[in-house]
């Protein structure tokens, strides 16, 4: 059924891959040339940006920290919240998203997101890392981004952001999505949606960047985008047949802890240097997270009679999300307010708004990420201060109400574009895979068994099993 569609997509991509491969080979030969005597650029070195070893060490560490957020952090966080029969599949969604993004990032997504071209989208001069054409993305620093670290370090650091954005979407659609639909979604979304928004907000000529909208580590790029895409995706998929509470609280807690741990690379690393700003981002991240976790628990204590472990973890993630866009622009005291707001808002969303609207966002990507990200985006406009980051701007409380407008433009444009493009992509995927949802019997039997022929938990030793070729 759907198999033919995937094969078709693959065959369609073959000539492109082939052409890219030949460019790469040509590029590798060509790239060797400037490494040799490098005659034309001989006088350049004094002006050329120099690598700062401390910055590079921190940024490579940060990239690995953000990787740990997706695999295994998010995989455990999401896996533990699903049912036992779907745990493997849910964890796999994050993993495969990371794998696919890693390949696409070096082929064309990085270039579309960051190469200077226009306000709307990046150019292709860094596709296949600029091999054979354009500027080579290699060991020397870029002249635009992270000028004290190798361009490759910057590229890989940004890859981990792209991958976690995609992996976050999987929370909305867990427990009922077809294997192939997710692969196709990864491929299309990482080409048509993420690079565009990333370019708007972070590209040196992106229109939101030029407008002055502040997003330090991806409140709109990562969180609003993943949350709004998740909302559209789960609306297309429909409700699960049977909704149950988390099957493995320790796994949820382990995953949330990995997320918190990795988020220091996410926020403090977004300073792209091992400097004072990174230290400030580190401190506000921790403070806001702890406050949000505590606030969520207080809310539960009032409205659900008992504070829950999963609730604390959810609150922590909500706080991390909300502080993300603000982390490089606000000081530590306002971060307590941002965290408290996140705990209150995200709890209210998943408890009341989700039920009122009736969508089945399985693991609350909309409530925690889209709404938490939106709150963080607006809170940046409230609390930002040039005293923290001279490259940023003052917010409403520091005498610049115009910043609120810029943040609102950022928020609504990211929501709008993501919802529209995701809807179009899903309509296409639906046609290509003849329905994106698994059949009813397969959903009841569990996705581990039906999508992967595996079981996450063996309840007893299966001594009677025999090996079949």
């Amino acid at each position: 059924m759907g198999k033919r569609a995937y094969l078709g997509t693959f065959l369609f991509l073959l000539p492109i891959l082939f052409r890219l491969a030949s460019t790469v080979m040509a590029g590798e030969a060509g790239a060797e040339v400037p490494e040799l005597p490098a005659v034309p650029e001989a006088p350049a070195p004094p002006e050329a940006p120099k690598i700062d070893t401390g910055d590079n060490a921190w940024m490579m560490t940060s990239a690995a920290l953000v990787l740990a957020m997706t695999i295994p952090g998010l995989a455990f966080f999401y896996g533990g919240m699903t049912r036992a029969k779907n745990m493997g599949n849910t964890m796999w969604l994050s993993w495969i998203a990371f794998c696919i993004t890693s390949i696409m990032w070096v082929l064309w997504s990085y270039s579309l997101a960051f190469a200077p071209f226009s306000g709307m989208i990046g150019g292709l001069q860094w596709a296949v890392l600029g091999c054979g054409h354009g500027e080579y993305v290699g060991q020397t620093p870029s002249t635009i981004y992270g000028t004290t670290i190798p361009h490759l370090t910057f590229c890989m650091f940004q890859l981990t952001f792209a991958a976690i954005t995609l992996a976050l979407v999987s929370g909305a659609i867990a427990e009922r999505l077809k294997f192939g639909a997710w692969l196709l979604f990864c491929l299309l979304w990482m080409s048509g949606c993420y690079p565009v928004i990333a370019h708007w907000v972070w590209g040196s000529d992106g229109w939101l960047y030029k407008l002055g909208a502040l997003d330090f580590a991806g409140g709109s790029v990562v969180h609003i985008q993943s949350g709004s895409a998740g909302l559209i995706f789960c609306l297309f998929l429909g409700r699960r047949l049977d909704i149950k509470p988390p099957h493995n609280t320790p796994a949820v807690l382990l995953g949330a802890s990995m997320l918190w741990f990795g988020w220091f690379g996410f926020n403090a690393g977004s300073a792209t240097a091992a400097n004072g700003l990174a230290a400030s981002a580190w401190a506000v991240t921790n403070t806001a997270t702890a406050t949000a976790a505590f606030t969520w628990n207080i809310m539960e204590w009032i409205f659900d009679r008992k504070p829950t472990v999963v609730g604390t973890c959810s609150g922590a993630v909500a706080g991390l999300v909300a502080i993300t866009p603000a982390s490089g622009f606000v000081s530590v005291m306002p971060s307590i307010a941002i965290g408290a707001g996140a705990g209150f808002l995200c709890y209210s969303t998943v408890k009341w708004m989700k039920r009122a609207l009736g969508y089945d966002d399985a693991l609350d990507v909309v409530g925690v990420h889209a709404l938490g990200g939106s709150w963080g985006c607006m809170a940046t406009g409230l609390f930002a201060s040039k005293l923290v980051n001279p490259a940023g701007d003052d917010g409403l409380f520091y005498g610049n109400p115009a910043q609120m407008l810029e943040q609102a433009v950022d928020m609504f444009s990211v929501w709008g574009y993501t919802c529209a493009v995701t809807a179009v992509l899903i309509l296409f995927i639906k046609a290509a895979t003849k329905g994106i949802r698994v059949p009813k019997e397969e959903e009841i039997a569990g996705l581990d068994l039906t999508q992967h022929r595996e079981i996450s938990y063996h309840w007893y030793e299966e001594e009677t099993g025999t090996i079949k070729a």
């Binding site: 919240m81 909704i243 149950k244 509470p245 988390p246 539960e300 409205f303 659900d304 009679r305 008992k306 829950t308 999963v310 609730g311 959810s314 709890y347 998943v350 408890k351 009341w352 039920r355 609350d364 409530g367």
Partner: protein, 136 residues
């Protein structure tokens, strides 16, 4: 020969086992289980949503013993497992037709109550087990 099947509270199980051991009944089969009785399950909470779980966790223990021991076993379990609230569990007594010890193929009551009927000297706890292995 009869089988006593008792379903008791998780938190009382430790006491039940200890009291049975004190009376000399250490052989039993234990299964973690869940079930429903007069009480209506438990309510779980996940992110502000409440889930009614129809079953509550319990421990099921099974003891096979000679007829003469059954009243004592039932009494001991009752005393140790009782809290007086709804959900304390049940004790079922069933007839058992035959018992065969896998190690040596021996049949009958000797196999289920070795100490009581004089096969090995009665002792309590780990030592009995060690002794049994020595004899075997």
């Amino acid at each position: 020969m009869k089988k006593v099947v008792a379903v008791v509270r998780l938190e009382r199980f430790g006491e039940v086992r200890e009291s049975l051991e004190k009376e000399g009944f250490q052989g039993m089969t234990v299964t973690p289980t869940s079930g429903a009785g007069a009480e209506k399950g438990v309510t779980l909470c996940f992110r502000g949503r409440h889930f009614q779980e129809p079953f509550v966790p319990r421990v099921k223990l099974e003891i096979v013993a000679p007829d003469m021991d059954i009243p004592k076993i039932a009494e001991v379990i009752c005393d140790a497992a009782k809290t007086g609230r709804i959900g304390d569990g049940r004790i079922f007594v069933e007839p058992v037709e035959e018992v065969i010890r896998i190690r040596d193929g021996k049949r009958g009551e000797d196999v289920i109550a070795p100490g009581r009927l004089g096969e090995i000297p009665r002792k309590v706890g780990v030592e009995v087990e060690a002794l049994e292995y020595e004899i075997a």
